[in-house]
Amino acid sequence: MIRIAIVEDDKNTELLIRDYINKYALESERKIDITSFGDGDEIVENYKMEYDILLMDIQMQFMDGLTAARKIREQDPDVVIIFITNMAQYAIHGYEVNAFDYVLKPVSYFSFSEKLNRAVERMKKQDRQYLTIALDRGLKKIEISQIRYIESQGHKITFHTGSKEYITLSFTMKELEKKLENNHFYRCNKGYLVNLEYVEGIQDGCAVIADDRIMISRLKKTAFWEALTNYVGDTVN
């Protein structure tokens, strides 16, 4: 289920967008829930982090789209924002609020549905995924997105999350690599599996993750850069 909010003061445009979304939902076989707001101030007031995508007009009477987006961003860093506007020169400021894209009025279905589809594909996965590991004291479920990197020494596997480290003997690196294939982990050398989300830089052939430096094997250097480029490029922004 995808939740979309339309913020638009022009009733006709709002109805058109609704139509387009319903058509898109039908075509892509997705379930989409739509909520409408008549002005920027309406959505900002009592904003709840329950939407995946905001379709926002820029010029509105009481609060313009950019201001509303700015206020929403203070609370919700993840929601995908797409502006709907007839003023391209305002939309370009969308980067200030990490907007994903904009659609120009008059809105055409083709362009709209393609952009919406791109946004849906790139939305942060909302469902949390967990990995169950066997610790000394019993089983433990860890949220995969919290794992920064995984280290192996002999049979010992250490999961490094921001706050804690978990040690287990229940996996091999190969199994983990396979299991986390779709969670943007990369094996940057024999003993380390790195979550690309947490790579903050590359220095002297090492991936920088918080205060740790993880060696990238010489053979994997190019492939690691590629994986990282593709991963960062696939985030919404």
Binding site: Q89, I92, K115, G201, I202, T229, N230, V232, G233, N237
Partner: protein, 437 residues
């Protein structure tokens, strides 16, 4: 010399031919790898060995045809295990063949000198040991040299002329080195077996050296041409930028003129004239709107010039770009990356006949400590690219085109960055990742 020197055993020749093919297969590996490669190489070693043993039983008249078969076999081994053109494979095959001839000849000569005729009980053991040591030394040196000069793109793109030259050199070396075995009374034939061996080794070495020199010279020439072409592309985008900057300044002046025109229109009494004035203004404003304001002057200018091109061709270009992130980059590199990426995208959009499907989206943002520049364009075909590598140009003349992408990579790598391009359903995505310091 009192005793007649024996000819090189067939198995030695087979091993030499296989090893020299292996050098190129490993250096130019990109079609098969891992277990598959191991299987293919094992099978080819077996076939080459069996073939040479079989050829050894044939009468002398079949010597040349058997040689041709062996060379053809080497060619197919290289051609099928690497993603190379026929010319490339033929060129490498000639080099592999001469290398194999040289290695086999030298090894056998040393064996004959050191071991043959000495009163050793372990002749066979010495023979194998000699073979292993000499081949290991020769082929590891050859491998190191080859690896050092291996082109990044893993193909060399030789032309027919170069292949022909290599074949002539190879043929000359082969004929000169073997003529003594076939005819003993030509001006080039040695009278004694030992001399034949030395001459063969030396001539093969000469052939090898000439082929090697030709190869290096050729690849240096190619690199230079490529660099020149990339520089040309860099320069072109930059001069376009300079040109457009002037136009934009003119446009700004026009913009202020518009204000004066408003006053004129206000004073105009005739409604029809007023209407024409107004629609004229509308048109001018549209052009002005195409100007982008991202917070970076160079980027704005490049984007504006390309957006005008898009407006002209009914391409919907949208751009969400934080230009301030580009402050650390040279104007030249910004022009190169954005200019070429957009030129490519626009060119690809023009192939789409339904105008509403012509979409391009540009994003510039930062994540963690990285700058991401992303170009996406709607695309109806299939991108020709192996993972990660930049695709071959679709333009006909490969020698003079395809430098757009290369120059983008060249610019990105100047900042320690990386470029990938891939296709996701109907969208082509070009991503440039650059670390922010």
């Amino acid at each position: 010399m009192n005793f007649i020197l024996p000819e090189i055993p067939r198995l030695h020749t087979a091993l030499a031919e296989w090893s020299s093919c292996m050098i190129f297969v490993i250096v130019f590996r990109n079609r098969i790898c891992g277990l598959k490669l191991a299987a293919v190489t094992a099978v080819t070693l077996l076939i080459q060995g069996v073939f040479q043993l079989f050829a050894g039983t044939l009468p002398i008249g079949f010597w040349i045809p058997a040689m041709v078969m062996a060379i053809l076999f080497m060619f197919f081994f290289i051609y099928l295990s690497c993603r190379l053109s026929v010319y490339d494979a033929a060129y490498l095959c000639v080099r592999a063949f001469v290398l194999a001839e040289f290695a086999a000849s030298l090894e056998w000569q040393i064996y004959c000198f050191l071991i043959l005729g000495t009163e050793s009980t372990y002749t066979e053991l010495w023979k194998v040991l000699n073979l292993l040591v000499i081949y290991l030394v020769i082929f590891s040196i050859a491998f190191r040299l080859e690896n050092r000069f291996a082109p990044v793109e893993l193909h060399i793109n030789v032309h027919l002329r170069e292949v022909a030259l290599a074949v002539i050199i190879g043929l000359a070396a082969f004929t000169m080195s073997n003529i003594g075995f076939v005819y003993s009374n030509t001006p080039f034939s040695a009278r004694y077996d030992a001399e034949i061996f030395i001459i063969r080794t030396i001539v093969d070495f000469g052939g090898l050296a000439v082929l090697y020199a030709h190869y290096i010279l050729n690849s240096e020439l190619r690199n230079k041409q490529e660099l020149d072409a990339i520089r040309n592309v860099l320069q072109r985008q930059y001069s376009q930028y300079e040109l457009f900057k002037d136009n934009i300044e003119l446009l700004n002046i026009k913009y202020h003129d518009l204000k004066n025109q408003i006053a004129v229109i206000r004073a105009e009494k005739d409604p029809e004239k007023r209407e024409t004035y107004l629609s004229e203004m509308d048109q001018r404003i549209k052009i002005y709107e195409a100007q982008n304001r991202t917070g970076h002057q160079v980027l704005d200018t490049v984007l504006s010039s390309k957006s005008l091109l898009c407006v002209d061709n009914n391409i919907e270009l949208t751009c969400v770009a934080n230009g301030k992130l580009l402050d650390f980059m040279d104007a030249m590199d910004i022009c190169t990356i954005f200019g070429n990426a957009l030129d490519n995208a626009i060119e690809s959009e023009l192939l789409i006949s339904e105008k509403e499907k012509r979409l391009i989206h540009v994003s510039v943002f930062s994540k963690n400590n990285f700058l991401m520049i992303r170009f996406e364009n709607y695309f109806l075909g299939t991108l020709q690219a192996t993972s990660g590598q930049l695709p071959e140009t679709t333009k006909k003349n490969k020698d003079s085109h395809g430098y757009g992408l290369k120059s983008i990579r060249y610019s990105a790598e100047r900042y320690g960055g990386s470029v990938t391009i891939n296709q996701n359903n109907h969208w082509v995505e070009l991503k440039v990742l650059i670390p922010l310091q």
